[in-house]
């Protein structure tokens, strides 16, 4: 949330909101409620019938489970309104601006939107083009998984079902509730503290970088690349996202070569943002050799003059290895071993001779 908030007051509201859930024991209550529903006499009987294989018994059980899920999410919306209200009460006792809670609702309402669509689209050719290995326009083929996508028509019922499964009710409604409360309390907005904002922006940058590093460490390479492209849009001169992009390309290539790409590679999905789907399509389109060349050329183009940390050496070594540049790979390995004799990434080099 640090990465999406704009100032400390907004982050403070988020923390206050979660604390309110904790203090009111919403989570525990929700678990109890859900457990009671699932262990009710009615559900037990339905399960017994299904086990015996009675006519229509499975359908009846699944319908009941679906009803419980809808009920559960409706109950949790009630908890959200309560947590919002209590969070505002907490905030008014602090130095933070309670009115920033309304801005948080705007942010949450748009958080799933396509970042690049609002900025003219994700230009993959611009993002991945290098003079050493130029981007090929054939990599940008039309959406391949769309043959049956014409079927993804949201009927009114389906839309209602999807909305009802959301844990957080509509943000505009929550915003209106909180605005009413703030007016009733008589709290006034506070002036922006520029020093605080400066400090927060530094934290925001670190949070973005940490998130990307965590995605890479979790082998969620495609999301790591996507978030890195977003980070580059906000911090164009930063080398860290370039490092993650080049390294993630190399990791994807090695997974393909070992035939374990299924563990790390997502599939295009109609519910993903168009930009994210476009990125997945690009990686699906690339052959093993193309991925290797892209990683190799990307890192050498963008990491010239980069700080030589452990991850840098690992990226250079791996990209050289998959591109067939054995001598260069050995040089990077030797440099790493000389500089980081007790390095944390030693095992990675050992496991990828």
């Amino acid at each position: 949330m640090t990465a999406v908030c704009e100032n400390e007051s907004q982050l403070a509201f988020v923390i206050a909101h979660e604390l309110a859930h904790q203090h009111q024991e919403h989570v525990n209550n929700a678990i109890w409620e859900r457990a009671e529903m699932f262990t009710s006499k009615e559900v037990k009987q339905l399960a017994k019938n299904a086990a015996k294989g009675g006519y229509g018994s499975k359908s009846a059980l699944l319908q009941k489970i679906a009803d419980i899920r809808f009920d559960g999410s409706r109950h949790s919306r009630r908890f959200e309104n309560e947590a919002d209200s209590l969070a505002l009460t907490y905030l008014t006792a602090t130095k933070y601006d309670s009115w920033e809670a309304l801005r948080v609702m705007d942010i949450l309402d748009q958080v799933d939107e396509d970042y690049f669509e609002k900025r003219g689209g994700l230009d993959l050719e611009k993002a991945f083009h290098t003079t050493v290995y130029p981007f090929k326009s054939v990599w940008l083929k039309a959406n391949q998984s769309s043959s049956l996508l014409g079927l993804v028509s949201e009927t009114a019922i389906e839309k209602e079902v999807r909305d009802s499964l959301k844990m957080h009710p509509e943000c505009p409604q929550r915003k209106a509730n909180m605005e009413r409360q703030l007016k009733l309390i008589g709290v006034k907005p506070k002036a922006v503290d520029e020093d605080q904002l400066k400090g927060f922006n530094q934290q925001k940058y670190l949070a973005s970088a940490e998130m990307i590093a965590a995605l890479y460490a979790d082998s969620t390479y495609v999301v790591a690349v996507y978030q890195s492209l977003i980070m580059l849009d906000q911090y164009p001169n930063d080398l860290f996202p370039h490092l993650i992009i080049g390294l993630s390309l190399a990791e994807l290539q090695t997974h393909y070569a070992k035939r374990i790409a299924g563990r790390v590679m997502p599939r295009p999905h109609p519910l993903y943002n168009p930009s994210f789907n476009a990125l997945i399509h690009l990686f699906e389109e690339l052959s093993k050799a193309e991925l290797a060349n892209l990683s190799y050329s990307y890192l050498r183009t963008y990491l010239d003059g980069a700080h030589e940390n452990e991850l840098y050496f690992w990226s250079m070594y791996l990209s050289s290895k998959i591109a067939g540049q054995t001598n260069e790979a050995n040089e990077h390995l030797a440099d790493y071993e000389w500089k980081y004799q007790k390095g944390k990434l030693k095992s990675k080099f050992t496991n990828n001779p």
Binding site: A3, Y55, G56, K58, S147, L148, R259, P266, H269
Partner: protein, 511 residues
């Protein structure tokens, strides 16, 4: 910075379906759409509704295995899904139950739009329906005609002598029917080679009686809107007969290409030996646009030594499974080499039986499946390349009598019964790539752990360069099935009866 919705799987290329009470191999498959592969389906029994009815789930997945639709259909018990086709708007499903065939059209929301029944089919008909070769991206009975509706090949019957093709609209109302125009007595078998909202391409094999080896083949092109014939001609070059292997509809150029083998004048296509392959091109008005021939001796021998009748130096013939046109105008043919050989065990059994004063049905010949073949032709059908890819040979003993049949006849029989290793192929038009897959196994000496392992071989013909890949089958489950996928991929489905799960894996071909 936007935070991505990560509630969906962002690291998985597998779809797992649970609570699958029972599932037959036929109940999982791919959906043929207007432009080829449209997605996948699985149709399985989910619940019992009554003594006579079950509840089935029809799950539809797109090319990336994402679940697009889950439709509950109540059908009579023991219904078997024979085929499914998607015409771009609606689905047609062919159900067989005991002796009744029912065709049902559903819209994209699973609402039934219409149906048509064919009652009390004979045993021969039912046999043909359930044993149709499904190794290619082509249906055998039902086809899509785009927004016009659907087409049914009503000629699978073993008893009917003449063929009949019927077209229906999306509510299963009959639009037109085309029946044989042959005036005399004959048994005719028709194959729908290609169908779309413009044309329907058929091949017809005709014999005067069931025992006759004098087969004539014809090609027919119908106007899909009204069933009017645009072309109807016998495959003959003067007195030289021809066979038909495949047809290819090129919507972009508005052409239909028929391809097959040609023989010497006076030859018989059952016993005779082909001299080469030919291609005939027609536009959608039925006008001829070209006729091209490639001889085994003059043309193919530049790339591989072969006899006048196509027999390669090592004794193999080539059967062409599919033909594609790429965006640069080239044609790529995917084939497989085979040969007939003496079956030592068959001979031994026959000798032993004779010695004991008896008989045996053991065949004397075996069918040996050899290497995969890629042939690249330019836009004028001149041969550019002929590539062979080695794989483990497989032998099948032929039933008695087949030892006297021609290579072409034997190959057709083997193809119809799914004995070739070839599984399917696909084309990436924009990148001029053709992908082909086949099922094979590695012999003990090929494997590290010395065990025989099944694998799926994948071949990639990329702008004239051929590369290969082998995907080992690690888990076979109760059964497994390999299906075509978007270019560069294939799908492996594994059913585990005990766990009642169906897993669909999208595998990328390494090249």
């Amino acid at each position: 910075m936007a935070v991505l919705l990560l509630t969906l799987q962002t690291k998985a290329q597998t779809t797992l379906i649970e609570d699958v009470l029972s599932l037959q191999a036929r109940s999982v498959g791919y959906i043929i759409g207007a432009e080829g592969l449209a997605g996948y389906y699985s149709f399985y029994e989910f619940d019992k509704v009554s003594k006579t009815e079950n509840s089935y789930i029809l799950m539809l997945h797109d090319n990336s295995l994402n679940l697009i639709k889950k439709i509950t259909i109540n059908r009579p018990k023991n219904d078997v899904m024979i085929e499914i086709v998607f015409n771009g708007e609606n689905f047609l499903i062919a159900f067989l139950n005991k002796s009744d065939l029912e065709l049902v059209v559903y819209d994209k929301d699973g609402i039934k739009l219409g149906s048509r029944k064919q009652l009390k089919l004979g045993a021969a008909d039912r046999m043909v329906l359930v044993s149709s070769d499904d190794s290619e991206e082509k249906n055998n009975i039902v086809f899509g005609l785009g927004k016009l509706g659907f087409l049914k090949n009503d000629s699978y019957s073993g008893k009917k002598e003449k063929y009949r093709i019927e077209a229906y609209d999306n509510s299963m109302k009959n639009i037109w029917a085309y029946t044989s125009r042959y005036p005399g007595k004959a048994t005719e078998i028709v194959e729908v080679l290609a169908a779309n909202e413009n044309v329907v391409a058929l091949s017809v094999s005709r014999v005067k009686n069931r025992l006759s080896k004098d087969i004539t083949m014809s090609i027919i092109l119908l106007d899909a809107k009204n069933g009017n014939p645009l072309i109807e001609k016998e495959l003959k070059d003067g007195k030289a007969p021809k066979t038909l292997i495949n047809a290819f509809v090129d919507t972009a150029s508005g052409e239909v290409v028929f391809g097959g083998e040609y023989f010497a004048a006076g030859e018989n296509v059952v016993n005779g030996k082909p001299l080469g392959i030919y291609f005939e091109r027609y536009n959608f008005n039925g006008d001829s646009k070209g006729y091209h021939k490639l001889s085994w001796t003059k043309d193919f021998s530049k790339f591989q030594k072969s006899s006048k009748t196509g027999k390669a130096a090592d004794g193999g013939y080539t059967f062409f499974h599919r033909m594609f046109k790429t965006s640069n105008g080239d044609y790529v043919l995917v084939g497989e080499q085979f040969k007939s050989a003496v079956s030592a065990s068959g001979v031994a059994l026959n000798v032993a039986a004779l010695a004991l004063g008896g008989r045996t049905d053991a065949g004397l010949a075996k069918f040996v499946i050899m290497d995969m073949v890629f042939v690249n032709l330019d836009s004028n059908f001149s041969l550019k390349a002929f590539e062979r890819v080695e794989k483990t040979q497989r032998n099948y003993t032929l039933a008695k009598g087949w030892e006297f049949a021609s290579s072409a006849a034997v190959a057709k029989y083997m193809k119809a019964n799914g004995f070739f290793d070839y599984a399917f192929s696909s084309v990436d038009y924009e990148r001029n790539r053709v992908f082909a897959s086949y099922a094979n196994c590695a012999r003990r000496k090929d494997t590290e752990d010395k065990k025989k392992t099944d694998y799926i071989g994948a071949l990639v013909y990329d702008n004239g360069e051929l590369s290969t890949d082998k995907l080992p089958i690690k888990s076979k489950g109760t059964w497994y099935h390999v299906m075509p996928a978007k270019p560069g991929y294939l799908v492996i489905t594994i059913y585990e009866k005990k766990a009642k799960t169906l897993e669909m894996q999208l595998e990328k071909i390494n090249f």
